[in-house]
């Protein structure tokens, strides 16, 4: 450990108590990666604060020492956004797990950043409410992490992402100040850019979330198709009919095979693709639209449709989908999870191109996706024991992102850029675009100590501001406006 870090460790020990500072190399290694295990770095130092004031002091001390810091919630992120710095401090929010306030009349709750996503819903379910963002990791991921990543989930097709469900955040800025950023109220919508900034603009210490009225009715069906094209046709027909389902998920033959092997989900044999469509809302709306969705699936060539009669059957339908990633272990020694987005209407063309890519390279690709919003999760399979296989898989995975960009899509729909995809950012954005985004970064964190090395391939030097300042400072005499 460097002398600077050792000094900080001493300070933090006095500030937080010795149980809240980790310096033992073995214990530090617990934190060496998040959900993206291919990138690892043992943090220089781990702290486990209890309060915003403590985080503010930690940030101020890091700033004074010029030491970088990274915030981490539950560490379930899939792009290495919480990858620690070996020369820095990892600030873990797992002790900040209090739900501070539940305010049903105003449909909101105030939580600490370490609160588990699903615990918010559990706390308000009896009142008929839930917290809408539902990433697959919702049983363990933290709300603070959701804020950083602007997390979505299967149901964000209808309900939107975390950004739509956060009303305000108390934030420790890289200056070490505690400020409130709100969606409403005077001034810039700094909250709007803070959510989804992957922890590079500060650390959320208190989050006011919007609670969503739970729907009166939920209905789910599973439709089996001979081919991905036919399934894609059904998706277009459903959306084209003006139906906005809560979720539309699709799996291809290879991912069905894996799920079958892993969890015996008993999807219809011989399916080239299965579609899961879930509708929710008022009973009277859902009943009518569900009948239409069934008809549209049949018209698009579904050879079998299963309708969940109750919650248990619904859970069974979802089992295959939810286990799809983990199930890849049954059909391949190793795999990469990709996360790309395309306009929904490009689905058939992009999937054909992925097929061609797979055939040409000999690398198998299983496709699982949020079909309603064109968010693909191709699973690139490889044998890590075979020399060069990982590199070939990585190459195919990268080419899939190129396909997404070619079709006007995005390199990430929900996993974030992190360290994993910063090198792809210049394929999607110009140098000026990236430079402009980093103006925000420079406004918040000119020293570049807050989760550095994430999102952007090259940091902007914050001194490099365009234009020349002339005349008196424009705020002169105006500070009393506040």
């Amino acid at each position: 450990m460097s002398e600077g870090l050792a000094r900080l460790a001493g300070r933090f020990g006095r500030l937080l108590g010795p149980d809240s500072v980790i310096t033992d190399p073995v214990r530090l290694r617990t934190y060496e990666c998040d959900g993206l295990t291919s990138h690892r770095a043992s943090p220089g130092l781990v702290v486990l604060p209890d309060t915003a004031e403590q985080i503010a002091q930690i940030v101020r001390d890091c700033a004074a020492a010029g030491v970088p810091y990274v915030a981490r919630g539950s560490g379930t992120g899939l792009s290495g956004g919480a990858l620690p710095r070996t020369d820095g401090v990892l600030i873990v929010t797992s002790r900040m797990r209090r739900i501070l306030e539940i305010d049903i009349p105003n449909r909101r709750a105030v939580v600490e950043p370490g609160v588990i996503n699903l615990d918010v819903t559990r706390a308000v379910r009896a009142d008929g409410y839930h917290f809408a963002p539902d990433p697959s990791s919702q049983q363990i991921c933290s709300v603070g992490g959701n804020v950083a990543e602007n997390s979505g989930g299967a149901h964000c097709l209808k309900y939107g992402f975390t950004a739509h469900h956060v009303l305000s955040c108390e934030v420790v800025t890289p200056d070490g100040e505690i400020v409130e950023l709100a969606a409403d109220g005077p001034g810039y919508d700094l909250l709007g850019v803070f959510v989804g900034a992957e922890g590079t603009l500060g650390i959320a210490t208190k989050i006011t979330v919007r609670l969503t009225r739970s729907p009166e009715a939920v209905r789910t069906l599973l439709a089996a198709f001979g081919s991905i094209e036919a399934g894609g046709g059904a998706v277009s027909a459903i959306i084209g009919a003006g139906v906005l389902p809560a979720a539309i998920e699709m799996m291809d033959a290879l991912s069905i095979e894996a799920a079958e092997a892993a969890v015996r989900c008993e999807y219809p044999p011989g399916a080239g693709a299965v579609l899961i469509v879930e509708l929710d809302g008022p009973e009277s709306e859902v009943a009518h639209q569900f009948a239409e969705v069934e008809r549209l699936c049949r018209d698009a060539g579904a050879f079998e449709i299963r309708v969940a009669a109750d919650d248990a059957e619904r859970a069974l339908i979802w089992t295959g989908r939810k286990s799809a990633f983990a199930a890849m272990g049954r059909i391949s020694p190793a795999y990469l999870v990709q996360d790309g987005v395309i306009p929904r209407t490009s689905l058939p063309r992009v999937l054909a191109s992925i097929d061609a890519l797979s055939a040409a390279s000999g690398v198998r690709v299983a496709n699982v996706f949020h079909a309603g919003d064109g968010n693909l999760h191709p699973l690139v399979l490889f044998d890590d024991a075979e020399p060069g296989a990982a590199e070939r898989a990585e190459e195919v995975s990268g080419k899939i992102l190129d396909l997404c960009i070619e079709h006007g899509g995005s390199i990430t729909g929900e996993h974030g850029v992190g360290v994993d995809k910063s090198r792809y950012m210049p394929r999607m954005f110009t140098e000026t675009d990236l430079d402009t985004m980093q103006m925000v970064r420079c406004g918040f964190d000119p020293a570049g100590l807050c989760n550095p090395g994430k999102v952007f391939p090259t940091p902007r030097l914050c001194g490099e501001v365009p234009g020349v300042r002339k005349g008196p400072h424009p705020y002169e005499g105006k500070a009393d406006l506040f």
């Binding site: 400020v179 950023l181 919508d189 709007g192 008022p282 395309i342 985004m437 914050c462």
Partner: protein, 403 residues
């Protein structure tokens, strides 16, 4: 070279400003109307080279909002940037230029059964102006405001560089979302030239259920019963031209069978005085009367307080159950009285985690009031502004704390 000549080299429509084009009385030296994003970039580059203070102008529906600019050397008029760039109807996405009127956009989208789920309180207002003002109406309850519907944004920076963020797909977390940052930025961070929006299908059926109520407590009760019911309203509004008595209205949208059933539920919740109609009630989606307008953040549980307070001062209001509303002060309100009313409202709303920002006010009232109230993250806002506009030439003085 004179600025006018330099601008004429990069833009086909440049002329001196006219006295009647003043922005809250500040007459622009020059007016440029670029027809393309490239021309807009050229104009902004020349403005940077000559140190010109720039104020963007759309359809002028909200040009009198905010505080007057410290100076306005150049008005950039977006009316020639008015094309629909792409309507990908199968993807429920549209890209439009900043100067396009929302009404025109709505007509084009409606022809294909789609809509941008934003109300249009002021006819003629543009894509760019709506984003810059973060303007929204009753539909905000279900669909959100511009920050929730803008999925891609192209701006020209203070230095004339063109920058884009977001994209053409709804689900996208690549890079910072500058679209949300620019929503409500009042022309102080850059010139918006093009935006991509998420769209929604036009519902097959809709109905308004309204009910007159005589007091603040009843209004609160009616709103709470609707808000926590499972009828999934698109909007819940309180229209209060003479508070505390007011009309509580709910908009239901969906399939015909569903709307019929939900209308019956809403009627049952609101009681025997409830009425069902296809047309919106008077004042729906409009700003309340008055020469001074306040945009208030007022969570549902502050409604009783809000209606009582403004009733006592004979003000007008509209309020959405998402917790946002507008309050109008009548023309005869004296400046010191206006200042006292605004301060009182702020104090009361602060107890409910709310706030009040002035949208517009007559010059004498403006001189007497604090336009913005307390701004919690003012320092950070200035730091961000300094990055985007280090010369403080973009709508200088139009925004919070002298920004």
């Amino acid at each position: 070279m004179r600025p006018l000549d330099a601008l004429a080299e990069v833009c086909g429509d440049v002329r001196p400003g006219a006295p009647e084009e003043g922005v809250l009385g500040v007459v622009p030296g020059l007016v440029a109307a670029p027809a393309t994003a490239a021309e807009a970039a050229g104009v902004m580059r020349v403005a940077a080279e000559h140190g010109l203070a720039v104020v963007p102008r759309g359809a002028e529906t909200r040009l009198d909002w905010g505080t007057p600019p410290d100076r306005c050397d150049l008005l950039v008029d977006t009316h020639r940037l008015a094309r629909i760039v792409e309507h990908a109807s199968g993807d429920l996405v549209v890209t439009a230029e900043a100067g396009l009127a929302l009404d025109e956009l709505a007509a084009a989208l409606a022809a294909r059964g789609q809509r941008l789920a934003l109300d249009r309180p002021l006819p003629g207002s543009t894509v760019g102006g709506t984003i810059a003002a973060a303007a929204a109406g009753p539909l905000r309850l279900l669909y959100g405001s511009p920050r929730d519907l803008v999925i891609g944004l192209t701006v020209v920076r203070a230095d004339g560089e063109v920058a884009r963020s977001g994209g053409k797909v709804v689900k996208n977390v690549a890079g910072y979302d500058l679209g949300r940052l620019f929503c409500g930025s009042s022309g102080t961070l850059g010139l918006i030239v093009e935006a991509t929006f998420r769209l929604h299908p036009v519902p097959a059926a809709h109905a308004y259920v309204t009910c007159p109520v005589t007091g603040a407590a009843q209004a609160h009760e009616a709103v709470q019963s609707l808000l926590h019911s499972p009828i999934a309203p698109s909007a819940i509004e309180v229209l209060a031209p003479t508070p505390p008595s007011c009309t509580v209205g709910v908009l239901l949208e969906g399939v015909p069978e569903g709307v019929t059933a939900r209308t019956a539920q809403a009627t049952a919740l609101l009681g025997p005085d409830a009425q069902v109609c296809e047309e919106p009630p008077e004042g729906w989606g409009l700003y309340p009367d008055g020469t001074t307008l306040l945009d208030v953040t007022a969570p549902p549980t502050s409604l009783t307080h809000l209606l009582t307070e403004i009733g006592a001062d004979a003000l007008t209001a509209t309020w959405s159950a998402i917790g946002r509303g507008y309050v109008g002060l009548p023309a005869e309100t004296a400046p010191d009285k206006a200042a006292a009313i605004i301060a009182g409202l702020r104090e009361g709303l602060a107890r409910h985690r709310g706030s009040a920002v002035v949208c517009y006010a007559p010059a004498d009232v403006r001189a007497a009031i604090d336009f913005w109230g307390p701004v919690p993250a003012a320092k950070l806002m200035r730091q961000v502004k300094d990055q985007f506009d280090p010369g403080h030439r973009l709508s200088p003085g139009r925004f919070v704390g002298g920004i």
